[in-house]
Every structure is written in C-alpha cells, then in structure tokens.
C-alpha cells in the first residue's frame, strides 16, 4: 500500500495522463454526453441570466448539469492532488526552459506549479498581472466560444473523430500560442 502511495506521489508520465484523458472522453460519450470543458463558460453565462439579454445564452442550462458537476469534480480533484499527492511541487521543465524564463526575469522557474510572483493577488495590481489574468482570461473565454471548443473539445474529442474543423482550430491554437510565447510574452513580462 505504501508503495502504491509512493508511486502515485511521483509526477505522472505523459502516457498515463494521455490514457486517462482518453478514458474520461470515452466515459462521457458512453454516458450519452461529450467531452468539452469550455461549454461551461456558456453554461455559466446562462445560469447568471445571460439569456435575458442575449439569445445565445437563452437555453436550459439545467440540461448541462452533468458538465457543471464534472467541472466541480475537477476542482475537487485539483484539491485532492495538491493536498495529498504532491510531496513537492516542483515541475521538471527542461533546462532550456529554465534558462529562457530566468532571462525573462521569472524567479525560480519550475518551483511550484505556477510562477509564484505572477500568480498572486499582489501581481493583479501590477500592469503585467492585470493584463495576464484579465486580458488572458477574456481571450480564452471569447476564443473558445468563437472556435466552438477548447483543448478538450477540439484537440482531444474533435481530432479523435478526425474532424477537419477541429484540425483548423488546433492550428489556430498553435498560431496564437506561438505568437504569444515568442513575440508578446517577452514584452509583457518585462512590463
């Protein structure tokens, strides 16, 4: 039993994570639903009364209760992993990444699950923190709905079904991600 716990406490390799993600996708299909997390942003808009001012949100969000509960489960899962399964939260990123991030002024890259200096409420009161969370979050919410899905809906579910639309969406994800990482983030982080 102790061996098992020790085994679980190590960082999980990519093939374990990929396999579990595929199983989760299959389970959701088998239960008569589908795997797509960004739909919950739309569900929340509807829950908050968005249907009164915009017909895009005028639907019965109660039919999406399963997805909202799945989402609630992910929060609990994050809590369990953080509390009980992470003896040390260092992320084993490559040396090249560590060097690049140090050059951009990120302190202790890989220490903690996210950069501590950026992911704090104090950082929200700095220009870069404000842009990162407010603009970044907005782009995620706007872009996923425009594209009709996020990583789970397009990159996993859509590509698994060999949908050409999802391939275009994933190409878009990478165009945006590469432009941000290579061209914009260096400026943002030096603000």
């Amino acid at each position: 039993m102790n061996n098992l716990i020790e085994f679980i406490q190590q960082p999980w390799p990519w093939y374990v994570a990929g396999t579990i993600i595929a199983i989760v996708m299959f389970a959701l299909l088998y239960f008569g639903n589908s795997f797509g997390l960004s739909a919950n942003f739309r569900n929340m808009c509807s829950m908050l009364g968005g249907g009164r001012s915009c017909d895009f949100f005028d639907f019965d969000w109660r039919k999406q209760t399963w997805n909202l509960l799945f989402l609630a489960g992910t929060v609990i899962g994050g809590f369990i992993a953080h509390q009980y399964l992470m003896p040390d939260a260092t992320i084993a990123i490559s040396e090249a990444t560590v060097a690049d991030l140090q050059a951009l002024g990120i302190a202790n890259p890989g220490e903690g699950i996210v950069p501590q200096d950026l992911f704090s409420f104090e950082s929200l009161f700095s220009l870069k923190g404000l842009i990162m969370f407010v603009v970044g979050g907005f782009l995620v919410g706007f872009g996923t709905r425009y594209a009709g899905g996020c990583t789970s809906g397009h990159a996993i579910s859509g590509l698994s079904d060999l949908q050409p639309a999802s391939l275009v969406a994933v190409i878009g994800f990478f165009i945006g991600g590469l432009v941000m990482t290579h061209l914009l983030l260096p400026h943002l982080l030096s603000l």
């Binding site: 915009c54 509960l69 799945f70 899962g77 996210v114 996020c150 079904d161 878009g172 165009i175 590469l178």
Partner: protein, 137 residues
C-alpha cells in the same frame, strides 16, 4: 444520484492533470517553446487512443448506457471561425498558461488568483454571444 459519476470523472480528470503537470504554466510555456516532449506526449496519447475508441464506437455502432446509439455530432466545416477563434484562444492559453479545464483545477490547487481569469473568461464568452452575428464564421 445519477450525477455522481460525473463528479467522480471530474475528480479523476483534476487529479490526472495536476499530477501530470498539465495545469502548470511552466509546462505550457515549455510546450510552445518546443523544449520538451511532455505535453505533446499527453495530447498525442489521448488523441491516438481517442481515434481508436471513436472508430470502435462507430464501427460497432456502440450504444450509450441509456440504450441510445452514441452520436458524435460533426462540426460544420469553415476556415475563418475555427482559425480566428482558435488563434484568439491560443493567445489567451499561452498567456494564462491554462485552458478552461486547468483554470478550475488550479483553483482546487489553491491558486486562487485564477478566479480573475475565470470571471474574465465568462465575460469573454458573454461578449462573444453578444457580437456573434457580426463576426465571420
């Protein structure tokens, strides 16, 4: 009680993405810098297995738990919608280091400031709904 299975699946998903470091801003940065195979391995494994699973579902005309056939609705193809929308999402993904699922998983990890990105994400979706008709699809 019929909903409890979704909570369990969510817990499994949240634990997995935390343990495999998929929710880490550092991993997303590293992925877009092509400095590690890790994230490509995660997504690649899921897609390869997903293709096999989807083909089995279709070829065996597998039924869902309810007895109805499993249907995977095809997405109507167009370039502008998916390319522009996808690019906008990609910009936000690389900035926050989190797509929608990991944002919530990070909340469970005690990274509370991510609630601002979540609120902004809900607003972004709302704004899309409002101006949807004016955008190329």
């Amino acid at each position: 009680m019929k909903f409890i299975k979704y909570i369990f699946l969510g817990i499994l998903f949240g634990i997995t993405l935390t343990k495999a470091e998929v929710v880490s801003w550092f991993r997303i940065y590293e992925m877009f810098k092509f400095q590690s195979f890790h994230m490509y391995g995660v997504i690649g494994t899921a897609v390869v297995l997903g293709i096999i699973i989807t083909q089995i579902i279709k070829r065996t005309k597998m039924k869902a738990i309810s007895g109805d056939p499993i249907v995977i609705p095809p997405k109507q193809f167009s370039i502008p919608r998916y390319l522009i929308g996808g690019t906008i999402f990609g910009l936000g993904w690389a900035m926050t280091g989190a797509c929608p699922g990991p944002m919530f998983i990070l909340l469970g990890n005690g990274v509370f400031v991510i609630i601002v990105a979540i609120a902004s994400g809900i607003l972004g979706t709302y704004v899309y709904g409002r101006i949807k008709r004016k955008l190329p699809h």
